[in-house]
Amino acid sequence: MASILVVGSGATGVHFAQSMLERGHDVTLLDVGFERPLPPQPAASFAALKEELDDDGAYFLGRRGEAVVYPSAHAKPYGFPPSKAYVFRRSPGEEVVERGFHPMLSYARGGLAEAWTGGSYELRDEEFGDFPFDGDAMRPHYATVARRIGVTGAPDDLQRYSPLTAPYLAPLEPDAHSAWLAERYSQRRDRINALGFHLGRSRVAVLSRDHGGRQACGELGRCLWGCPRGALYRPSLTLAELLTHPRFTYRPGVHVRRVLLDAQNRALGVVAVPVDGGSETEIRSERVFLAAGALASSQIYLETLVARGETDPSLPGLMDNRHVMVPFVNLRRLGARVETASYQFHMLAMAIDTGDWRHDVHGQITALKAAAVHPIVAPLPFDLATSQRVFRRMRAALGVANVWLSDTRREVNRARLEQRVGSAPKLVLEYGDDAHDLRQTERAVDTTRRALRELGCIAPKGMVQVLARGSSVHYAGTLPMTGDELEHSCRVDGSVRGMSGLHVVDGAGFPWLPAKNITFSLMANAVRIAELVG
């Protein structure tokens, strides 16, 4: 059997490849494939690492201070550490023109999910409304992915927003602040629910027990810097498993530019360029599966159209979740101890019922534990010495609600190409918010702040950050799956209309973007497509 080509080793690529291997196919996975550096001292906690590393702060700050978060109008209260630089390293010569949309792209082994926080949420039945299949078609594949990667979750008030049909592991023990908030919620549930606000445990791809050769969370507090135990799932772990499979071929170091088509628009393979320089090369197969991530797959598709002779093609419907950060202070936790050796990311999740499922809001609540201090201290309203002293006394009381809003496909939000003489075209991403977006955002922030107040927390309005479009890293919608015969769209099995042998298995195919993290759904959808085409 001829080898199929999978482009990209992110969350969808590796799970699609795994499912196709299980169905007896030979799989070649093409990837730029920047590698994760080995984490130092894998048994050390966050604090112990600071004590024991003999690198003059380079692990935390970078050799040239590149991980320092300097004060600016757009500074976030955290920065990606040098150990995650491989995730966001650009392929040589790759440029994006950003118009109202500021994306993160990854060419790493494992893609963007190498830097995720593990949020894994099933879509509920209504949320498949725009898809050419229903929730029942996805449920078995959520289960497959959950068994592969290990997802924690428990029945709670969020179940109506994030069903629990897959096999879930027991959640981790909550940190003291998260436990406090959950307890307070249970005491004031009726008042808080009356706001439309619901609280429960995050569903997270982190292991609460050893699973498939990976170790359970060791509560080292190093999640952001890169879990050294493999407890927090990342796609490169699956890629490492695939590398042991006799029918799997991994070709890193190639950047796929376009799909090679014959005169009848049948796929013949792909055209790629070596990342370390050299001329274009053809890699042949009559079955090509794009899993490079919604934006990179869109670029490959657009360059394919240009090579076919189309001028200035563009893909409407670009989507991304609006992302808002709502920091809060829980005054009842002032002076409490903070255990930095603890699972660092969110342990609670929230949903806001707006009365219209399309506009329901989702979020994750993180109590502050291990963290880089300076990005949090710098925006406080005092001089820096006072700010850091205040911070040390309030640290146990701090947290942030990361709130996401859904998005729909709109004509004006699109991906297209800008041609350049003598080099590869640039991807152009255009996005414009409308008044409805802004009203929805205001309502979501208002409800979140009121609910936090009911929980005994203060969420100062001046500290709320509405992040730029693109920052949620949940990109979708440029080649939507639909039952309608639309130009630039896919069928239920991810096959691209107007071309034969080309499929899209990543977020480009999602016709609607729920407010929740879609990575779990992306992986399940890739497995679903493998079942249909395999």
Partner: protein
């Protein structure tokens, strides 16, 4: 925990303090570290501060920005006044950028991280008292900063060629 006394025997890292500019930055770091609450003459801390300047835009925005930096370099008390004033008037200026870098170094190095990266655990009452005291001190410092710095700020704002941009 490694023996802190052993550190001086190690190979000097990149960015050793062998030039006048580097020595100036090292002195500046000494003042900033003292101001931030971790007085230290540890050479490796200063070297890390100097090395990390590669990521910092260290040019002042204008003459007042440069003056604030020069004031802060004069000692911990002056630094407190300058920073108090800068937080309101130049939150993204060169002084704040350099102070944030100094804090980033201090929170990341074995010698000093504990003083910045651990919470102060206490009773809630003690925490409140401490916060009120910090607030009062900040208020007094802010008033002093305005009294000392505002006249200079106004003078420089009125003089020609105050800004590189204008």
């Amino acid at each position: 925990m490694p023996d802190p006394g052993a550190r001086d025997d190690r190979r000097p890292p990149e960015g050793a303090l062998d030039g006048e500019h580097e020595r100036t930055l090292a002195r500046e770091f000494g003042v900033f570290a003292h101001y931030l609450g971790a007085p230290s003459d540890d050479r490796r801390l200063a070297e890390a501060y100097v090395r990390c300047h590669a990521s910092l835009s260290s040019a002042p925005d204008d003459r007042f920005d440069a003056w604030l930096l020069a004031l802060a370099q004069g000692g911990a008390l002056r630094c407190a006044l300058a920073d108090c004033y800068a937080r309101r008037t130049r939150p993204f200026g060169v002084l704040r950028r350099k102070l944030v870098l100094a804090l980033a170094v201090l929170e990341s190095m074995p010698q000093t991280h504990a003083a910045f990266d651990t919470a102060v655990a206490s009773s809630a009452v003690a925490a409140w008292v401490s916060l009120v005291a910090l607030g009062v001190r900040w208020g007094v410092t802010s008033v002093a900063a305005v009294l000392v710095i505002l006249p200079v700020h106004l003078t420089l704002a009125r003089s020609p060629a105050t800004s590189r941009h204008g």
